[in-house]
């Protein structure tokens, strides 16, 4: 399932001065089910409180979830069956989503600070504070990638195609086959996404069926 095609970058940019350095490590702040951390040749059980370092690979099993603190950048939540590589942590935080789905809640960035989410299927840049990225169906050669924004705005750019689009709060897009952007719009299925990352505030597991993101032809009847 690990996909190794071109890199898909989701970048967060905020152009404000002042640069407090972010800690160069992260941690698991919440976990449910099987969570594994691959560090070099070792595979560790991911427990609440486990430290995370650049180069770590975090995997969630069936029915599992994990919330990670990424230094001072913010938090991410991994859905079940997700694999996330922590490429770098610190002023420029970069993660790669190899499969599954990822919620990002990023604090306001300053100066040269940046937050990147990569996927292997395309290249894009985004701005925003809370958004969701997930793999959809593989209808063409590469997987579709869904992106939707809960707070702020996201700029998605596909450099190879010279295409870009701003995704506003409440909107979503599909990167078709990883290389074509749909027009941003509200998708009813995104209402089911569970953005909560704080267990103290209730259930944080997201069980949205990504198949709902696709038109259900069996539901298209008009008489």
């Amino acid at each position: 399932m690990l996909m190794k095609s071109p890199v898909f970058l989701l970048l967060l940019f905020f152009t404000v001065a002042a640069i407090p350095a972010a800690a160069d490590k992260g941690s698991i702040v919440y976990a449910e089910g099987e969570v594994l951390v691959k560090r070099g040749s070792r595979t560790l059980s991911g427990e609440i409180g486990s430290d995370l370092h650049p180069g770590d690979l975090v995997r969630t099993g069936p029915g599992a979830l994990a919330v990670l603190e990424l230094g001072e950048r913010g938090q991410v939540k991994l859905r079940e069956l997700t694999e996330l590589s922590l490429d770098s942590l610190g002023t420029r935080t970069s993660v790669t989503l190899n499969r599954g789905g990822l919620f990002s809640r990023i604090k306001r960035l300053f100066g040269t600070e940046a937050y990147e989410v990569k996927t292997p299927s395309a290249v894009a840049g985004v701005r925003g504070t809370e958004f969701f990225v997930a793999y959809g169906r593989k209808i063409e050669d590469e997987y579709d990638v869904w992106l939707c924004v809960n707070e702020g705005a996201v700029e998605v750019v596909l450099p190879a195609e010279g295409a870009s689009v701003i995704v506003e709060e409440g909107e979503g897009i599909n990167i078709l086959g990883g290389n074509r952007l749909t027009d941003p719009k509200f998708y009813p299925w995104t209402k089911d996404l569970n953005w909560n990352m704080e267990p103290d505030r209730g259930n944080i597991k997201d069980e949205t069926d990504l198949d709902a993101a696709y038109s259900d032809l069996l539901d298209q009847d008009y008489d």
Partner: protein, 262 residues
């Protein structure tokens, strides 16, 4: 001809009807007690529908009108309301109520003064119908859906009951993973449960094209080729005539569908 029918009365009713039907079909017997096909050119119909998607539930509301017969009278009108529930991924079931006016039934072929016969003007006759619907659907490939609508209709005004069986196929033209338009070919079979002399009282294909202007608005264009079998009316039987008469007509229709999702 009266002598011929007299002998027929000694035969079983079904045999009589079959022979009469054959005579009619071959044009041997065309009496003025028998309704005639008034269709010159197509009938026209239009509908506007509000079809709400509430997840596993769908609500249905539509208003429909039809201009019929040679005079293109705005005769048939209906309002239908109800709901469907998706009991299974491949099955929707529903219940609907319909208020209609202008519908024509077998006994509406009336003897007027003298030797004149005509269809009753039913435009002000309001009827209440209750319907139960079950429609299995199956994907055929990425862009096709096969369905078979099964509907029971009970006309509470005249107690007539009907079973509709309508197999069909719909092909979707997809753009960006979403349907942009779809083309449907269906064949409707209406079976009478308790009226008339022909079990299959109406049948025919219809072709419809639906364009998805947006998630909310869709427009449709459709064409039906309907064969309706009229059975003897009470007045015609009283006048000593029985018949099975096939009325074929083309109906062209347009519609606007509002399809909000919540």
């Amino acid at each position: 001809m009266t002598e011929v029918c007299g002998r027929m009365k000694r035969m079983k009713k079904s045999t009589v009807l079959t022979i009469c039907f054959l005579l009619l079909a071959t044009g041997v017997w065309g009496g003025h007690h028998t309704p005639e096909d008034e269709g010159i050119g197509p009938d026209y119909q239009a509908r506007i529908a509000l079809l709400t998607d509430l997840g596993d539930w769908n609500t249905h509301f539509d208003i429909e009108g039809r201009m019929e017969d040679a005079g293109r009278e705005f005769r048939y009108r209906s309002m239908t309301a109800g709901a469907f529930w998706r009991a299974h991924r491949n099955l929707k079931v529903g219940a609907l109520y319909r208020l209609q006016a202008g519908a024509r039934h077998d006994d509406d072929w009336l003897a007027l003064d003298g030797n004149d016969w005509a269809w009753k003007d039913s435009r002000e006759r309001y009827e209440h119908l209750f319907m139960l619907d079950a429609t299995p659907r199956f994907l055929l490939g990425r862009s096709g859906v096969a369905a078979a609508k099964l509907r029971y209709e009970y006309n509470m005004t005249n107690n007539q009951q009907i079973i509709l069986l309508r197999p069909g196929y719909t092909w979707f033209h997809m753009v960006d993973r979403e349907p942009r338009w779809n083309l449907s070919l269906n064949y409707a079979l209406y079976f009478s449960l308790n009226f008339g002399d022909s079990v299959l009282y109406e049948s025919g294909p219809y072709l419809s094209w639906l364009y998805h202007l947006s998630d909310l608005i869709k427009v449709e264009v459709r064409g039906d080729y309907i064969t309706r079998t009229w059975s003897s009316s009470e007045d015609s039987i009283a006048a000593g005539d029985t018949y099975l008469m096939e009325d074929r007509r083309i109906v062209l229709g347009v519609g606007i569908l509002l399809t909000p999702r919540f």
